[in-house]
Assembly symmetry: C2
Homo-oligomer: 348 residues x 2
Amino acid sequence: MARRVKSPPQPISDLDARKAMILKAVVVEHIDTAQPVGSSSVAATADLAVSPATVRTEMVALEREGYLAQPHTSAGRVPTDKGYRYFVDHLEAGVLGPAQQRQIREFFAHVRGEVEDVLEQTSLLLSRLTNYTSVVVGSGNSHASILSVQLVNLDARHHLLVTVFSDGSVTKHSVLASYEASPVDVIEASRQLNALLIGTSIETKIQVPSRADTVAKLVREAVSVLKAEQPTLEGEQLYIGGSSRVAEVFEGVETVRQVLSILEQELLVVTLVEDILDKGVSVAIGSEHGYEPLSSCAVIVAPVSLEGENVGAVGLLGPTRMKYREVMAAAEAVSKHLTAHFGGDDRG
Amino acid sequence: MARRVKSPPQPISDLDARKAMILKAVVVEHIDTAQPVGSSSVAATADLAVSPATVRTEMVALEREGYLAQPHTSAGRVPTDKGYRYFVDHLEAGVLGPAQQRQIREFFAHVRGEVEDVLEQTSLLLSRLTNYTSVVVGSGNSHASILSVQLVNLDARHHLLVTVFSDGSVTKHSVLASYEASPVDVIEASRQLNALLIGTSIETKIQVPSRADTVAKLVREAVSVLKAEQPTLEGEQLYIGGSSRVAEVFEGVETVRQVLSILEQELLVVTLVEDILDKGVSVAIGSEHGYEPLSSCAVIVAPVSLEGENVGAVGLLGPTRMKYREVMAAAEAVSKHLTAHFGGDDRG
DNA sequence: GGTTAGCACTCGGTAAAATCGAGTGCTAAC
DNA sequence: GTTAGCACTCGATTTTACCGAGTGCTAACC
């Protein structure tokens, strides 16, 4: 996470102390008011003992360097994505309000149920906490090992393959056969599948029996449907909380539509979040994530890990002028709690 | 479904032929243009050989009787909920365009996978077909019988109860014990659970063993988490397709927000759809369904049945000025196909 | 009696004009 | 390097005027 402390030699794109303060003031006020910010209100910022005129000169520079933009002559300045980026990179870590801290603690003290339920609840919590739309991603089970498989027959040709994985996930797959199988066959197939698959992961290559009897055919069939899953994306879980926030937080019906439409494409959202995570970043602003329809959004993510490994992420989606401090703090806190929750799950 | 053919004696609230035609003309045009409709455009309707003045007189009457409303003096008329209701009740059955029919047929010819996947895909289909937000509800499994239960142990105190129902649904429940249990115990418990539960439904009262050994405790524990589900609502599945349509179809950010916010409350949506279905109606207009925030919406539903029993529903949500003919036809067609799909599931 | 042409009237929507003022950039003095 | 002063810009807001779709009413018409 790029959080630079003030230290001597900085990349070209760095700003002297005063410019930084001015930029920060503009960002803060614009986030608050959604209006272009003028030189006088910046000058009024207590800890900046200069006149509006001076501020103006600096703002011209900031604009030239791409941190600020002017909607039109004779309007105040608005931060660009680059401006927000600088702001976020130099943000001192935010602290959560006590009320929110309590809310999170209480939530995790009382939440229970399956992982899926917890993740879903968490997405609602995040959205309630921040007033933005939240996104919780649980990773797939592609390398979890199989604890148990069972073939249950619904009728003579229609069976259900139920698989339990070591991460606690359960999948089911229909197995439709063109031949009839007796309950005894199914039980035997089930037994063989167990022998064959337990301990392997879905990625493991399996040597299936090549005999031509009903049981062997069933076994082959079952293994094949199990392996037929797309390796990476099936099994990913996505929970979106507070999508109605989109309508309150973005202006312009068209933007709202676009964002909602993106959120509907679950694969895309999962990829987006994981991309951001892969880059090791916690915030993607504007066009940084490369999804053009989301260019007026910022996405904040935090990883959730289990035994040192990333098993998911929590994210928040808002306009570029979102409350980064609070929201980043919230995301971080929730991701921590979630990690702890899954790590020390076994309450007595 | 109330579809009246013109027949002699009607309830008080019925209209003579000409009023009906005028009302219909207003509704049709308003659905098309979203604008108040004036007497002259109604008079221009080919099959109505009267002058605007006459139409006006009739419109005054229609307004008095509550079918039309006037946004303000010297504006055209707009249908009220009652007006739409009359329109819908007297709507001759719509026919789907050939393109849409093909789309539906193709969809059902190629769709495959678990019930859940089919329902989810269906909701997308419906939304694509109609350009409105769609809702697909799959009923719970509360009276499906249990085909198999299995206790899988994750670690000494943490087990997973996996239950397969006759309707093909699978549930999992964590069983957390305060005592340690050996794999042998778990297998034995699993065996006993099978003996105990197979063939019963979730509602059946079960006589659990009262012994104090580990196995019996496990069995009791497992039965109790299984029964702990809320009887009616858990297991209901809801799939919403095209929620971004909300933003294109309703005007006013506030309305959009409200509708989205309702859609987030899955329980509420399920109840809403089932309420409408229970009333034996296929369309709920404006405030007819009693959910105030949805008073500018119309909801069209069609049941999905399996072996004569309702197992779900498809629905579409739009503004009161929605294209009833087309949408009702689409909902009906899809519900028919879905019913057929599940009825004759066993393709060779 | 129902229908219709004629007409005065209403009133929201749109466009043009006027005004305002926040904010700028520049310059000259400090 | 900073700042006060000032002319200038330009979007937002308000004002005014106007248009015209649509109404309700009345008197003539079939």
